[in-house]
Symmetry: C2
Subunit: 193 residues, 2 copies
Amino acid sequence: MSQTKAKAPDTAYGVLGMLMFGEMSGYDLTKAIEGSIGFFWAPAKSQLYSELRRLVTLGWAREREVEQTDRPDKRIYTITPPGEEALRSWLGTPPEGFDPIKSPFLLRLFFGHLAGAEAVRGLVTEHRRQAEELLETFGQIQARLLAQAGPLPPYLTLTYGMTYASGVVDWCDRTLEELEEGMTVPGRKGGRG
Amino acid sequence: MSQTKAKAPDTAYGVLGMLMFGEMSGYDLTKAIEGSIGFFWAPAKSQLYSELRRLVTLGWAREREVEQTDRPDKRIYTITPPGEEALRSWLGTPPEGFDPIKSPFLLRLFFGHLAGAEAVRGLVTEHRRQAEELLETFGQIQARLLAQAGPLPPYLTLTYGMTYASGVVDWCDRTLEELEEGMTVPGRKGGRG
DNA sequence: TCAGCCATGTAATGGGTTACATGATTGA
DNA sequence: TCAATCATGTAACCCATTACATGGCTGA
């Protein structure tokens, strides 16, 4: 019953991809994900488990029960050949449309004039702090990745993240300066500086 | 029955904020959103309608039926004073945690070594194209905003988007060059260039 | 005159999160 | 000895998307 032409949410393929690193339990996967793709694709635990059930149904992964005495029993998942094929086919299909942006920060910022300049400054400052924090985390990961000569693509996702985060920091700095000039769009006319 | 201390999803506050521009129907709101906060907060139509129902229940908006003959009847929504208060209070509460990133692009890229260098180049090239397209759209909006002296915050969300998109374009360019050098992390040892 | 869009929504479905459950080890 | 963490998952709920429904106008 293994389907290759089936459609599944991206999360399913993310899990499949992780299984390429070797067989894992749901728990193993949560750990593996939070250190890697978790930065840009972070399903909840229970979501993971339900995707695993889906993979088994599709024939894209095999499930094996492992009984344990000191720990809860577990189920270990292995990718199957049809699973690998489905993964590769998905990889060959670029996502349509740009990455969806969903920003609680920008949503608040947009209505900032209702909250006043001081609140906006606070919002931006906090955002900057978070971006710097992220940047530091990325720096540590980078050091690790540069020490071993692994495949390039995961490293590229890291540089992407670093470009993004440092872009945010710069924008925050520029914006905090701009906020000194008032809360109106800096049009050409009527400006005094 | 108007509650001020209630919790609602961010989408509800986004809708409330839009209602500050004046009373609107659900249809009006979809239009208003897609030209503004839609770039970073884009609920589906039906989501919008259910949030409107929520707002009425909470006492944050009033609903008024308007019968029409040539068009379907409509319901027009107005923000109430408790609604305004809830909105302001929400604006004063910065989001916890950095904006969640959910990137179908990075998810594919991460597993790029399974697809080969050529596929990765294609993926990056397409992503670059999309980013440039976005950048152009933003440029047009910018021209419009600079022509009138409106409030600064919406303009700031725009510069944020532009910083982001042009950062992506740069990253794509750098990455396409890097891909010429092979598919391994450019570590210090063993490199020839 | 027919396809497509304007204008207004509802229904069905599915993806994803938070809360709940369990018991064994380990460190303070 | 008590709280925290490891290790493994399930149940309940809600947010969000896609598909469906309706009927009048508008341009080719």
